[in-house]
């Protein structure tokens, strides 16, 4: 969607919930299609729509309607609202503060090893005063080793790995997020790698940061991320014979309805909820 069409559609006022760089993506009147007032999926690609809220960042899903509740009838008039959910996108230089210094040192050190930084670092994101390097997964151990050993970088402490599952981020559904702390320079950065659901392999960092042993087992246990090179990748929290990976988004929370003061309270994932 191009920004050039911004402002041509929106007959309804855009809701002002922190919208800074777009018009809120309110759809047109819907007169062209869909007489019922709800736009079908393909409307997202139509040319006569206003710009989405920022056209950068990775799309991880879409949100429909104004209030997030589904299943009820739309009495608000906002039922046709379609917005894409985007994570903060790539940042261009300068990143500000010591971020540039770390990025320069890392790129320089990778160059020395004969690696092309553009191939290794998919993108760099600066958001909420935090620096994130998105790394191509096959280069992760090399990058981590460089970050640990280079005297100008010296990220000696890894605080483990956190898995995140984005079913809507096609081709890169599973993310592994590492936070590295430099005690020497008093800095904290984040590394992020992604893997598709169909091929959930990420190189293990245990050889660089032995502390990741249990953390990688945990991420495997809950997300099914397979860390190649881990000395003993087994389940750590769930029983050894457990089926499935509980913290993936397609894995149900479970639970049973409970009676409370005469009323049936549905299980937490069955209740009316808002997104």
């Amino acid at each position: 969607m191009s920004d050039g069409t911004k402002g041509t559609g929106g007959t309804k006022g855009a809701p002002g919930n922190g919208d800074t760089n777009g018009t809120g993506g309110v759809n047109g009147t819907g007169a062209a299609k869909g007489a019922d007032g709800v736009n079908p999926d393909q409307d997202l690609n139509a040319q006569n729509l206003p710009g989405q809220r920022g056209d950068h960042g990775e799309v991880i899903g879409t949100r429909r309607g104004m209030f997030g509740a589904s299943g009820g009838g739309d009495t608000s008039g906002y039922g046709g609202l379609v917005r894409s959910v985007r994570m903060p996108g790539a940042t261009s230089r300068p990143y500000g503060g010591w971020f540039d210094e770390v990025a320069d040192e890392l790129e320089g050190a990778l160059d020395e090893q004969g690696l092309v930084p553009e191939n290794v670092i998919e993108k760099t994101v600066v958001d909420r005063d935090e620096l994130t390097f998105h790394i191509e997964r096959e280069y992760l151990p090399a990058v981590a080793r460089t970050l640990r050993d280079d005297p100008a970088l010296r990220f000696e402490l890894c605080t483990g790995v956190s898995g995140v599952h984005f079913p809507g981020d096609k081709g890169r559904e599973l993310h592994a997020v590492y936070h590295l702390r430099s005690i020497t320079h008093n800095r904290l950065i984040r590394l992020e790698v992604s893997a598709p659901d169909a091929d959930p392999h990420v190189p293990s960092l245990v050889s660089v940061y032995p502390t990741n042993d249990w953390h990688e087992r945990e991420a495997y246990d809950f997300f099914g991320l397979i860390f190649d090179g881990h000395p003993a990748l087994t389940r750590i929290m769930m029983p050894d014979d457990w089926q499935g990976f509980p913290q993936r988004k397609d894995y149900p929370l479970g639970g049973i309805p409970v009676e409370y003061k005469g009323a049936q309270i549905p299980a937490p994932d069955q209740r009316r909820s808002y997104t």
């Binding site: 605080t159 995140v164 936070h179 940061y209 937490p268 994932d269």
Partner: protein, 440 residues
């Protein structure tokens, strides 16, 4: 040689099988032929000195531990998954139950992450931050008291145990006065606190600081110079600086290796840069050093609590943003804590908009812009990190807790292998793992 199968026999209670396996004789004979005393022992998961349901799998040769491994997960309750099905505010009710000995640290770390995502870190009122610091430092005291008390009990020093729990009780009384609960408080909320300090809280904390100063001396007298205590603790659970960094150990374990790394000093949060305190270290790398560090940290915590009381100035305890802050302070009614009658009168009687707003905020919650944030606090056990991801909705998309107990427990094998079985207990106690935090 007996028969190689079990023979059934009918009784009034049902069928009884007499097991007389043939191969057991062979196994016993084979075991008798080898002259080593190598056996594998399961210590736990139900063992009084394993801090909850921790299972230690020890391969021992006589009294020497040749290999040690942990089995964890017995207390896994799926808190991280559950968070994804509640609002951001309800999250504090869950995270406070992770490491149940450090509830205020869990709550603060979580709230700092949510506030970072919301971009309101600087808008949290001073009074809220001061009360957060005060509760965290009281919590550091109560957590270290349990560590020292149970650690002492595991050595057979029951007096230390009694002293520790006696003093912890004083702190739990303060919690109860301020939050209404002895544990699982959910008192610290994204944006500030659930409510202000009740009347009398400041006086009670002041009274406590005075009393605790006197009581702390008793631990010194009882344990610090005690030859039996030192004999059991010194050079036990050895882990040097390289070992700490490799295994990711933080907190007293790291500081006992001589590195004065404390997030309160290096990456201050909640205004820690305004407080005057020392970061104690030791260079012994052993359990005794960790004990001394905990003792000194308790003294420093008392100093910080005192400074908090002096810094407490009247003011709000919640951000001013009405889209985040719940519309009313709670008040004590005849049926317990609830919305104040004034607020109910307003929303039910005079303002339809206020009623709608209240209803939407409480049932639906607030939205958090998409993105991710990492917030870390120095818990009594080390770096407690929270990685929170939002997809722009009213519920957390993913929250991961990097619990220091979980990470530090990995160092158990390095501390115990090659030592005596009895010293495993001392080494594990010096890590001070809490399984609620390890398994989450």
């Amino acid at each position: 040689m007996s028969t190689s199968h079990a023979t059934p026999r009918e009784t009034t209670e049902g069928t009884v099988y007499t097991v007389t396996g043939g191969d057991w004789d062979e196994i016993a004979a084979a075991a008798a032929r080898t002259d080593d005393e190598r056996i594998v022992v399961n210590m736990g998961p139900q063992h009084p000195s394993t801090h909850g349901v921790l299972r230690l799998i020890l391969e021992i040769d006589g009294e020497t531990v040749t290999e040690a491994r942990c089995g964890i997960g017995y207390l896994h309750t799926g808190i991280e998954k559950n968070l994804e099905f509640r609002t951001w505010t309800q999250g504090t009710t869950f995270v406070t139950r992770m490491d149940y000995l450090t509830p205020f640290f869990n709550e603060t770390a979580y709230c700092l992450a949510v506030e970072k995502l919301l971009g309101i870190t600087d808008e949290v009122p001073d009074r809220a931050s001061v009360i957060r610091v005060m509760l965290m430092e009281l919590n550091r005291l109560s957590s270290h008291l349990v560590a020292i008390a149970t650690g002492g009990m595991e050595l057979g020093a029951t007096t230390i145990m009694i002293y520790g729990f006696r003093d912890r009780e004083l702190i739990l009384d303060i919690y109860e006065l301020i939050t209404g609960l002895r544990m699982n408080h959910a008192y610290i909320r994204p944006g500030g606190l659930a409510q202000d300090l009740p009347p009398g809280a400041v006086d009670q904390v002041r009274e406590f600081v005075k009393k605790m100063r006197k009581n702390l001396v008793e631990y010194d007298k009882l344990a610090t110079g005690n030859p039996v205590f030192k004999g059991r603790m010194q050079d036990i659970g050895y882990l040097d600086l390289a070992g700490c960094l490799a295994t990711g150990a933080t907190g007293p374990v790291l500081r006992s290796a001589g590195l004065p790394h404390d997030l309160r000093k290096t990456q201050p949060y909640c205004g820690y840069e305004h407080y005057d305190f020392e970061v104690p270290t030791a260079d012994t790398c052993d359990s005794y050093g960790r004990f001394l560090i905990r003792l000194e940290e308790m003294r420093q915590s008392l100093r910080i609590v005192e400074q908090c009381l002096d810094r407490l100035a009247p003011g709000p305890v919640m951000v001013g943003d009405k889209k985040i802050a719940w519309p009313a302070q709670l008040a004590m009614g005849p049926d317990g804590l609830g919305n104040s009658l004034d607020h109910i009168k307003k929303i039910m009687g005079t303002s339809m908009e206020a009623l709608i707003h209240h209803f939407k905020l409480v049932t639906e919650g607030f939205r958090v812009p998409p993105g991710q944030a990492y917030a870390a606090v120095e818990s009594p056990k080390g770096e407690l990190g929270v990685h929170a991801v939002s997809d722009g909705g009213t519920r957390p998309y993913r929250v991961h807790f990097r619990d220091p107990s979980f990470t530090n427990l990995q160092a158990m094998a390095a501390m115990c292998e090659g030592g005596q079985v009895a010293d495993v207990i001392v080494a594990v106690a010096s890590i001070d793992p809490v399984m609620g935090g390890v398994d989450r």
